[in-house]
């Protein structure tokens, strides 16, 4: 593993600062986050799920003259997919520069409807040994970790008994409200 050039704490601080600048929907919603990021960059963002071969990276940011394409591995768990998408979106948010230009044939294979020559640059998620990759990975982790914070709390189970009347629901709600405070659900 290569040595990061920026210290771990420095990177974390930088990511947190960037996160404060971004509009992160609460509760988190990937489409809304994409829309707000797109508004910020002035370029449309398109998400494409593809079954990428294991030798390819599991996510890519392809930049064309007009559009940012985020390609992500479809053959993995939805949580992992969301993380991969956020990693690529973090590259866009951080305005990272591409380190390699996608070869025309690779671009055509991935996106047959795209003219390979139009692809200006690509950034791929495969490992976190470079600063840009580490930064994007950390940003994605921080965003999703925050977004999923509430999901740690076990979901409220459904009522075991069907309420006999609307009144019962109101009474149960009043009892819950009066007894459940003052401690918040999460420490």
């Amino acid at each position: 593993m290569g040595q990061p050039q920026v210290s771990k704490d420095g990177l974390k601080r930088r990511c947190r600062r960037r996160l404060r600048e971004l509009e992160i929907p609460d509760p988190f919603d990937l489409d809304r986050f994409c829309a707000s990021l797109s508004e910020r960059t002035g370029r449309p963002i398109r998400l494409l799920a593809l079954e990428l071969s294991p030798s390819s990276p599991c996510g890519m940011w392809l930049s064309t003259a007009t559009t940012d394409y985020v390609i992500y591995q479809s053959a993995t768990d939805p949580l992992h997919q969301e993380h991969i998408v956020l990693h690529e979106l973090s590259h866009i948010a951080c305005a990272h520069s591409a380190t390699s230009v996608l070869r025309t044939d690779t671009a055509e294979r991935l996106l047959p409807h795209l003219d390979g020559d139009m692809v200006h640059s690509v950034l791929a998620r495969s490992h976190y040994t470079q600063d840009q990759e580490r930064e994007a990975e950390l940003m994605a982790s921080l965003i999703l970790h925050r977004a999923r914070r509430d999901s740690w709390a076990e979901a409220t189970p459904a009522r075991r008994v069907q309420l006999s009347a609307e009144d019962d629901a109101r009474i149960a709600a009043r009892i819950e409200r009066s007894l459940q405070n003052p401690v918040r659900c999460r420490p």
């Binding site: 294991p54 149960a172 009892i175």
Partner: protein
């Protein structure tokens, strides 16, 4: 024993009332205020009932026993407050207003009535309990009957409503709290029945005073249950979250051997942060959740990276061996087999398959909690599942079909 129990009850009620009071200031919610006042009055009842304190109060006036009167009035006020709390639960504040006003007027009347009857009965300053001699006076007996009726009605109402809404609420802690309060109210109701028995018994010349200590024990514990029940939904989440946090830490630790084997040793380029933070720091709530999240993502990454090395035959055998198991367990064992076969092949320098079939699908719904639970199952199967060992062993020893036993052996 009574001193200790009643002191505990008094302290508990005051702490509970103060705790709820912090919410009332913020919310200005009459239902919360009613819970708060009920707990505070319970604190008053038990404070005035602590034997040394009551003796001290009794001797403050030479002609009248002040401690017993104060206890009687506090109990009636507590019963009224409990009824108001129930009224505010079962009605909107607007609808409850009239009934609450009637209760308060009735309380004022009862306070006057008890005081007049009590002063008329002239119980001496050394008469510290509801003894037989006190009950001999008609005025004092009337005071006791009013007191028992007020307490009995309130306890019956708490018990009925508690049992009923414990079944109807969807919140487990509120349900447990209501059940505790209802159980406590039932105990206090039993105390009321006993007390009525001693009163009637004294008129009939029967002596039931031997059960005095037991009755106080029942009443004190009933009150403790009520205050625990009314506050459990407030402080319970702290304990529940503490327990969840411990369980999450244990699960995080259980992922470590698998993470070492497939991420740190095979694909170290996937590790974002190889921090060697102390256990205490790793245990901090935000830090632990972040670490759990990172570990899950790195395990998913490594799983993708190892996909070209999966032995499809071993995977098929694992599927056959585990087809009788439930979906989560089966998929975890199959995934563990895939990972073990892939690590073995990669380590042996086997060529990668660039068009591998899809890896076993995990039955997950995209949230961290279910992903963590699934990876813990995978880690356990990876480390010591008999099914995994059998599926892998057969890939070198015997044809795939011969590896499927008629009645599968349950692994260790």
């Amino acid at each position: 024993m009574t001193t200790a129990l009643y002191s505990l009850c008094a302290a508990g009620a005051w702490v509970a009332a103060g705790y709820k009071l912090s919410a009332t200031r913020k919310l200005r919610d009459p239902t919360v205020a009613a819970v708060c006042v009920t707990l505070a009055l319970m604190g008053m009842v038990f404070t005035a009932s602590i034997p040394p304190l009551r003796v001290w109060l009794d001797h403050q006036l030479t002609s009248v026993n002040l401690g017993v009167l104060l206890t009687l009035l506090c109990v009636v006020a507590f019963s009224t407050s409990a009824q108001v709390m129930l009224l505010l639960w079962t009605n909107t504040p607007e609808n409850a207003r009239g009934a609450v006003r009637n209760r308060l007027i009735a309380l004022a009347g009862v306070v006057v009535l008890i005081t007049v009857l009590y002063l008329g009965a002239h119980p001496g300053p050394h008469d510290h309990s509801f003894s037989r001699s006190s009950a001999g006076s008609l005025g004092y007996a009337a005071c006791l009957l009013i007191y028992l009726a007020a307490l009995g009605i309130a306890m019956l109402a708490i018990a009925r409503l508690g049992w009923r809404y414990a079944r109807l609420t969807g919140r487990p802690l509120v349900a447990h709290g209501l059940r505790l309060a209802a159980a406590g109210a039932t105990l206090v109701l039993a105390y009321c029945v006993y007390r009525l028995g001693t009163l009637v018994g004294s008129w009939l010349g029967s002596d039931m005073a031997r059960l005095e200590t037991l009755s106080r024990f029942i009443a004190g514990n009933g009150a403790l249950l009520i205050m625990l029940g009314l506050t459990l939904p407030s402080w319970g989440p702290l304990f529940v979250h503490g327990f969840d946090h411990l369980r999450r830490y244990a699960r995080y630790q259980r992922l470590h051997p698998l993470w070492l084997s497939i991420v740190a040793e095979r694909h170290p380029e996937l590790v974002l942060d190889r921090s060697t933070a102390r256990a205490l720091r790793r245990f901090a709530p935000g830090e632990l959740d972040f670490r759990v999240y990172r570990r899950i993502i790195e395990l998913f990454d490594a799983r993708l990276a190892l996909r070209p090395y999966i032995d499809p035959a071993a995977r098929e055998r694992a599927r056959r061996l585990t087809r009788h198991l439930d979906e989560h367990e089966r998929s975890a064992i199959v995934a563990a087999t895939e990972l073990r076969s892939a690590v073995r092949a990669e380590r042996a320098g086997a060529p990668a398959d660039h068009e591998p079939p899809e890896a076993e699908e995990a039955p997950l719904d995209g949230d961290v909690v279910s992903a963590l639970a699934w990876w813990v199952r995978v880690a356990r199967a990876y480390a010591r599942s008999g099914w995994v060992a059998e599926a892998l062993a057969a890939s070198t020893d015997a044809p795939a079909d011969a590896a499927t036993p008629d009645s599968p052996r349950r692994p260790e």
